[in-house]
């Protein structure tokens, strides 16, 4: 697999405070990379380093196979679209005038601008001043500015921040379409649900450290879900398994944590049956990405 973004030991410290700590980012080409982490975990700082807007204290970044730094950024930025922090846009100018500024800056042709504007479905709003735009419209204009250069890589920092559910869905849909068109998208969020369904690869950041990076499937397998057992005498089963597996009783279901292999599962069932308890249900807890995420970020795990 080839990576469009690769960083090694990427670190940023302000004074003595390390904001981003030894990141080894791997973004596969053509993927939608969901960059997750609570507010203040260093997502924006990392993205700014990828764009060489701020200089890393340590480590290196390679984008599109080339080292990204002050001397190469000018050339590389032509193929990277980005939207960092709040959406840009001069409030006193119309959407069209704002787009023309970007067009001139990057030497784009009208077709590219039209395409970008149509992609974010803003072609009906370009005559209005940005001051009159809703937050969602500003956000979409910002994405159009990033898209107009027809980037190979698109870096979006919390693009769904402050949008309503319909707006969020629209951005998701847009990301999917872009990925289908061959654009690699890196999108950050502090809400898992927003990137859950779109991202093919996930990177999870907590307090400046990468606590997980891989596919959705990898993430699930990294954290074993609890084992749930339904039996004829749940009370007795719970007290039997309390010491070895920390069993808890939920209604009539016994919940066991840390039973991570098929052999161990079979052993538990055998034990119950040997005590004359009838087992009629053994299953894994239905695990949401949300709970995995919370577990990882809270415990600082992995």
């Amino acid at each position: 697999m080839s990576f469009i973004v690769e960083s090694s030991n990427l670190t940023k410290a302000y004074g003595g405070r390390t904001v981003v700590d030894g990141l080894d980012l791997r973004i596969p080409e053509g993927s939608v990379y969901g960059f997750l982490g609570p507010n203040g975990s260093g997502k924006s700082t990392t993205m700014k380093m990828l764009l060489s807007l701020i200089r890393p204290t340590g480590g290196e970044v390679e984008v599109l196979g080339q080292p990204m730094n002050r001397s190469t950024r000018r050339q590389l930025l032509g193929s990277i679209g980005s939207l960092i922090e709040s959406p840009p846009g001069y409030a006193h100018l119309t959407g069209a005038e704002n787009m023309r500024i970007v067009q001139r800056l990057l030497g784009l042709d009208d077709a590219q601008v039209d395409f970008a504007v149509k992609t974010v479905r803003m072609h009906g709003q370009m005559g209005k001043r940005v001051r009159e735009y809703s937050l969602g419209m500003k956000q979409r204009l910002g994405i159009a500015m990033a898209l107009a250069r027809q980037p190979k890589l698109l870096i979006l920092d919390e693009p769904t921040n402050g949008l309503d559910p319909a707006g969020i869905e629209e951005i998701r849909e847009l990301l999917r379409r872009l990925a289908d068109g061959g654009v690699t998208v890196m999108v950050s969020s502090h809400l898992l649900g927003e990137v859950d369904k779109t991202a093919t690869v996930l990177g999870i950041l907590s307090q400046g450290r990468m606590i997980f990076q891989g596919t959705r499937a990898d993430l699930f397998s990294a954290a074993t879900p609890d084992l749930l057992i339904d039996c004829s005498d749940p009370r007795r089963a719970q007290s039997m398994l309390a010491r070895a597996h920390g069993a808890r009783l939920e209604d009539t279901t016994v919940r066991l944590a840390g039973v991570d292999s098929d052999e161990a599962t079979a052993g538990v069932v055998t034990g119950l049956v040997a005590e004359g308890i009838g087992v009629h249900g053994v299953r894994r807890d239905e695990q949401t990405l949300e709970s995995v995420f919370m577990g990882l970020t809270a415990g600082g795990g992995l």
Binding site: R55, E85, Y90, L93, E97, L105
Partner: protein
């Protein structure tokens, strides 16, 4: 670079920057002509009439330019603070310093145009009323160039200041103070006028009263050349440091 400068003109739309520069032109012309024509030494038959016009032009800039230049620079730079423009430009490969240089160039072109128009308007008035003495071309062009250089130096100061300090109060307040300083500098010993950029409007003078007599003299070209060198160096230094600054 040209695209970046053209973008600056695009950003000026709806900010009334061009209108403000036009107002600068009108006010300078108004004040200057009023001061010149109502001067008791304005007399069509003598060379002193040209001198009153030269003086009027100088006092027009002295009074109007410091504050209006501050307003113009402040508005254009503030648009970047408001619209997230520094970051947007940075992600497109234009550094904050580059943006400041483009702004100075764009505003400088407008101010240069206004200055040349003022100069032409004054000359036209002189010729229209039929001043007998020959037009003092050398001093006239010299004064025009000197006033322009001082105005550009002030623009550079205000662009850098507005980029550094988001609170517009600082730039506008300095502009107001500058207007006062510029005015005082016309009356104080020249060494004091050298101390502030606004004082150089007074040093540009190509005519004035020497011992109660109106006389023509050459502007202090050397000193104004010095101002332009210092201003250029400081502007380059600051914009260079903006380039390295992290956003």
């Amino acid at each position: 670079m040209s695209a970046i400068v053209v973008n600056e003109f695009a950003r000026m739309r709806h900010l009334h920057v061009v209108l403000l520069v036009a107002v600068l032109f009108a006010v300078v012309t108004g004040i200057g002509l009023y001061a010149a024509v109502f001067n008791p030494d304005f007399d069509r038959t003598s060379a002193s009439s040209w001198n009153t016009l030269l003086m009027g032009m100088g006092s027009g800039f002295t009074l109007a330019a410091p504050l209006l230049l501050a307003v113009v620079a402040s508005r254009l730079v503030d648009a970047e603070h408001q619209g997230g423009g520094w970051l947007m430009s940075a992600t497109s490969g234009v550094t904050p310093g580059g943006l400041c240089r483009a702004k100075l160039l764009a505003l400088g072109l407008l101010v240069a145009g206004a200055t040349v128009l003022v100069s032409a308007a004054f000359a036209a008035v002189g010729l229209a009323v039929g001043i007998d003495a020959p037009w003092p071309a050398g001093r006239w062009l010299g004064l025009t160039a000197c006033l322009l250089v001082v105005s550009l130096a002030l623009l550079a100061l205000h662009v850098v200041l507005a980029a550094r300090v988001e609170n517009q109060l600082v730039g506008i307040g300095l502009g107001l103070l500058g207007a006062v300083v510029a005015l005082i500098s016309t009356a104080v010993p020249t060494w004091i006028a050298h101390l502030t950029p606004w004082g150089y409007y007074a040093l540009s003078a190509a005519a004035g009263y020497v011992d109660g007599q109106l006389a023509g003299f050459a502007p202090s070209y050397l000193n104004i050349g010095g101002l332009s060198a210092v201003a250029a160096a400081i502007f380059a230094l600051f914009t260079r440091s903006f380039d390295r600054q992290e956003v």
